[in-house]
């Protein structure tokens, strides 16, 4: 068959289709990012060819968040003599090839933070509005993944341009088209017709991936239980282990806080107002009166976890933990947010 390029279409394709999709994204002027295997983990890098893509989900170091929310950016420049303000917000054309369902959910959480409410963030919007997502469903769970507990994976059924699920034979993928742009990326591509069996394989593989998750967390009633467990002795236990490095927050795909500051050149005429990532775990965070309100490490560690597993639900109606497991992987003190949730709720 030949794909028509309509939203809602589906087909079975081989890996060669990835090259075509990537080429079409690049032709349309997108800088395309995907996970590349480097030093034993998957790292989001600009893709040259689709052959560089890693199909195994490894979590990686930084989530792709930095593509729509850069670690540091200039908001505007200010001429101290004339008083003129200059803000150049240009639309950014980027695409992610092989983003995972958990990271899509993290992106949707950030959308609510930056674009919801009365004051949408123009910097975020400039990077978000034109952001094609080619999503890979996860057919196996990593050691620290608990997306199936958080309801953010291993499969996705919304907010994708193209959705790709690896079927039972290597090199066979179920391709589902989720948008008009997704359709353009595959129009006229030769493919096999997707049969019921292919869908059965997809669902079985996703069910298996969820069932085989080695990390789990029951979320039923979790916010209330976390609130009740604010004084649980386990917080002391983990904060005694915690080195205080803040790796957990620096790799979190939903942490959105920033520090805003001015940078001036030597002539002291031009000032750039910038913002850069910051997090509640840092002592210098929110130093409005000269220091962090949460001076003790136990309070900052607890704030991070409570925000993800509890407060975010009251704030935004969804968990800001998407179960990606990065904070667990990169914690040098082996502190585990899922284990913490289980312990506080009494499931240990």
């Amino acid at each position: 068959m030949v794909l028509q390029g309509q939203a809602g279409e589906n087909a079975v394709v081989g890996r060669d289709a990835f090259d075509e999709i990537l080429a079409r994204l690049q032709e349309r002027g997108y800088a395309v990012y995907g996970t590349v295997n480097e030093k034993g983990t998957g790292i989001f890098r600009p893709l040259g060819g689709a052959g560089e893509l890693s199909l195994r989900c490894t979590g990686g170091t930084l989530p792709p968040k930095y593509l729509w929310y850069p670690p540091s950016e200039t908001m505007f420049t200010y001429d101290r003599q004339s008083g003129a303000l200059r803000s150049e917000i240009e639309p950014v054309k980027q695409a992610v090839f092989g983003i995972r369902p958990c990271d899509v959910h993290a992106l949707l959480a950030l959308d609510e933070v930056f674009l919801g409410g009365d004051y949408p963030d123009p910097y975020y919007r400039a990077r978000r509005e034109d952001l094609p997502l080619v999503v890979f469903n996860c057919v196996e769970s990593g050691d620290t993944c608990f997306c199936s507990s958080m309801g953010t994976g291993p499969g996705l059924d919304h907010d994708y341009d193209l959705l790709i699920t690896e079927l039972d034979r290597p090199g066979r993928f179920l391709l589902e088209v989720g948008s008009g742009l997704g359709g353009e990326l595959v129009r006229d591509l030769r493919a096999e017709v997707a049969r019921d069996e292919d869908y059965q394989v997809k669902h079985r593989r996703l069910e298996d991936a969820a069932a085989n998750a080695r990390t789990t967390l029951e979320t039923e009633d979790l916010p209330r239980l976390m609130s009740e467990g604010h004084g649980h002795p386990y917080w002391r236990e983990i904060s005694d282990k915690c080195f205080g490095c803040a790796n957990c927050t620096s790799v979190c795909p939903t942490c959105y806080c920033a520090d805003i500051f001015d940078e001036t050149d030597f002539s002291l005429t031009e000032t750039r107002r910038k913002r850069r990532w910051s997090w509640c775990f840092l002592m210098e965070f929110g130093a409005v009166h000269g220091g962090n309100f949460r001076e003790r490490r136990i309070d900052r560690l607890r704030q991070f976890m409570q925000h993800k597993l509890n407060f975010s639900v009251g704030q935004y109606g969804r968990f800001h933990c998407v179960g990606c497991g990065r904070c667990i992987v990169w914690c040098p003190a082996n502190i585990d947010i899922a284990q913490t949730g289980r312990t506080i709720r009494g499931d240990a």
């Binding site: 480097e38 030093k39 034993g40 983990t41 790292i43 170091t61 930084l62 670690p71 005694d240 282990k241 915690c242 080195f243 205080g244 490095c245 803040a246 790796n247 620096s250 790799v251 500051f261 001036t264 030597f266 002291l268 990532w277 840092l282 002592m283 210098e284 001076e295 490490r297 992987v329 990169w330 914690c331 040098p332 003190a333």
Partner: protein
């Protein structure tokens, strides 16, 4: 408006931080356009007495004579900056503080046996804030001259520099380095050491040695336990690690004490 007068002083140290000042060619002319260097013995012949707007001090205080000089310099400088790890914490010279040797034994070990020069009267090595009020700290062995330039710019505007004394890990993660401690089991001290270096060593696949001293509110004792229990480092190695660059600080003292 006259440019602020700046002075560079040196106590007990290797002079590497002062030397790195001379390596800022890309911005050297910009810097010299906005400050007047009045005193910098390593760099110029023509030096002037104070008072100065900003005084940068390299080196630890290790003799009574240095302590007296420091107090005089403090009076001459509106802003006094500890310039580099030795001036911040006592640094590498402070390793001798835990040698367990008397002053006489130390002198005999380091110098010829019969020397009895008052110049060599040595006291425990300390950072300058042990003796005088210190307004700012430029950490590292050697300092990051980018931070020095930032501090000068901020001082010109009458602002505090926005250094972020969080752990090296934060900068290392932004560089997408794979963690040396978690993935490779190397005894990296980045998780408890102050950032600002751009995670220089881990980015070159070398573990952080903590040359910028402790990150704020770090838990060195827990890291020391990890070094011993999970990585199999000996007690002596762990103690040496936490006393190499910042053994005088309460934070790294706890790391060393946890191993003892």
């Amino acid at each position: 408006m006259a440019n602020p007068k700046v002075a560079f002083f040196k106590f007990s140290s290797c002079a590497g931080c002062l030397l790195s000042v001379l390596n800022i060619e890309p911005v050297l002319l910009d810097v010299l356009g906005v400050i007047d260097i009045e005193y910098f013995i390593m760099a110029k012949r023509d030096n002037h007495e104070g008072p100065y707007t900003i005084g940068f001090i390299e080196g630890a205080v290790t003799t009574p004579k240095e302590a007296l000089e420091l107090k005089k310099i403090r009076e001459e400088c509106a802003i006094l900056v500890a310039f580099g790890n030795c001036a911040c914490t006592g640094g590498v010279p402070s390793i001798k503080n835990w040698s367990g040797m008397t002053q006489e034994q130390l002198t005999k070990t380091v110098y010829a046996e019969n020397i009895n020069d008052p110049m060599l009267t040595s006291i425990p090595a300390k950072g300058i804030d042990f003796y005088v009020k210190t307004d700012a700290y430029l950490r590292g062995c050697a300092v990051d001259v980018g931070e020095m330039v930032e501090l000068i710019k901020r001082a010109l505007k009458g602002e505090n520099p926005l250094f972020r004394p969080h752990s090296v890990c934060n900068e290392c993660k932004l560089k997408e380095n794979v963690c040396l401690l978690v993935s490779e089991g190397k005894p990296c001290m980045g998780s408890v050491s102050a950032a600002g270096c751009g995670a220089l060593c881990p980015s070159l696949n070398r573990q952080c040695e903590g040359c910028r001293g402790p990150a704020n509110d770090c838990n060195a004792a827990s890291l020391a336990k990890t070094f011993m229990e999970d990585l199999g480092l000996s007690k002596d190695d762990v103690v040496r690690k936490f006393r190499k660059y910042a053994g005088n600080t309460p934070e790294f003292s706890k790391g060393a004490e946890a191993a003892l």
